[in-house]
Amino acid sequence: MSLMIVDGLAKAFAGRSLFAGVSLQIAAGEIVCLMGPSGTGKTTLLRCLNGLERADHGTVKMGDVELRAGDGAQAFATAALALRRRVGFVFQGWHLFAHRTVLGNVTEGPVFVRGQPVGEARPRALALLEQMGIAHRASALPHELSGGEQQRAAVARALAMQPELLLVDEPTSALDDDRTESLARLFRGLADGGLAILCVTHDGTFARALSARHLRLPAAGGT
């Protein structure tokens, strides 16, 4: 049973095609690694999957939610909003909320989007930060963190929303080997619990450690 079905996705910027006819399916509990040279459109593809970017053609389907490239602005926005409540996203540049502490970043979604009581969201967020090894930085502001700490905080923020699918863009770019390995272990554990993960990465070691299905985007201009 596929969790997300991507069909015939195509995107071009200013007439330059990045990818065309991308179709893929991800099942619950599955980890997929998306690889390929820099500038081929991996980030763009991820953004198309949760509607941050609108594809030129194709559809993204998840249960009864369908994101269609050809839809009107209102319909597209509504579908994207519904999709994002089930899909977590970790940015290549992390984009932690600059005005909130690490803990605030992690509780923001559960409290204000999900409507969870703060008393529930906080201990859960702290447990997540513990799991990511940055609980001691809970009250720090993003600009006070190292790159690796920010990266892990961003993963915790996405996981706090208890998504069914996690889209992750280069999650190990700022991590050392030990941290990379423990992140791989964490992802495998989450996948065992049913979470689907689509992970863009350059890091062969990480990809192997995830022991996942690999996809490659061909160099720009191809297919």
């Binding site: 994002r84 977590g88 940015f91 984009h95 932690l96 005005h99 979604g109 989007v113 600009h143 929303m161």
Partner: protein, 436 residues
Amino acid sequence: MAGFEVELAAALARELGVRAVFVQNDWSTLIPSLERGTFDIALNGLEVTAAREQRIRFSRPYYVFAERLVARQGDVRVLDLASLRSRRVGTLASTLAWDILGEAGAERVPYEGVQEPFIDLQQGRTDAVLIDDIIADRYGKRPGLAVVGDLRTGHYAIGLRRQDEALAGVIDEGLGRLIGKGELHAILARWRIDGPRQEALIAAPTTVPGKTAALPAPHRGMTAHQVWLFFQGAAVTLLMSAVAMALAMLGGLGLATARLPSRVPWRRALGAAATAYVELFRGTPVLLQLYVIYFGLAGVLALNAFAAAVLGLALNYAAYEAEIYRAGIQAVPVGQVEAAQALGMSEAMAFRRVVLPQAFRFSLPGVANDFIALLKDSSLVSVITVVELTKRMTIVAVDSGGWLMPGLLCAGLYFAMSYPLSRLARRIEARLGAAK
């Protein structure tokens, strides 16, 4: 320039065989300007008072004026000087009438123009106007107003520097000849301000003007009471500025929000209206805006002076705050909004939860700087009769005969109010710098 005094000056110059050069000067600073040599004689409704006689040399008088009391038709409460106690009475600041009203215990409302006291009287913002008869005749004949009576008479004379005794003698003689030839009378007649009262000028041609309008000579230097009034002025300035700034910040937020890009037609129209507002209020002087709100809209919008001042400043500064917020909103990186959207926030929620708080922080130094500017701009509201710090300074300066002490005290109080703000602005800037 026109007026009977302009004609008199020209006639006097002809009589003395000299050329008159006219210099424009604020009425309330005529005497200091005379003393520092901006001009040699002051010929502009200077009332002869004991206090002024201590400071300057007066010529023989050229006009006998009366302090005329004007009230609304049928207002039986305003009868005489005694009836003015605790009533709001308008007049020009620093005039004899101002002093008389002070003595009488009236609540004095100071004006800088000659029409505005009567507009406010019509509107019911004051209970009476006490002003020189020349002005009352010319500007006070408005529907619904009536002359109650003349309270006191006095003399207008030409003001000269004390050390220019020789010049004073020449002027006195020249004036005497003009009076003797009937030329002064002809000028007064042309302006329709002649009358039996003016006969006194001829009847006693050589009398040095005297105690006609005598009031006790004021203190040299400032009294404790005047210092206390200064602090009151500072409190008015601070309260007015703080309330105006709070409103301006709210209004600015509304304007900036309305101007956010949108595809919805009615929101775009709203944005265009907000832009028009910002351009209009930034593009015209706040002084003009205060005038329009207080005097121009007096018939439609019955605001008291303080409320009009707060509203005027708030409307003006809202335009500036809107621009500051707009810049602040634009300074929030797009990645922050996308991160919020990726969590499932709607655009509105992302704006509220993520963009606004950050934009607000970016805006704080600009807002603090604007508050400092507003504190100083607030001195403009004296044109609509609010006695704030600067107005209090000019009143005390004229009363006490010196500008240095009141000026320093006034500057000190402004500084005490603005310096903490400027420190705060710099602290926030430093903190934001560290967060980048």
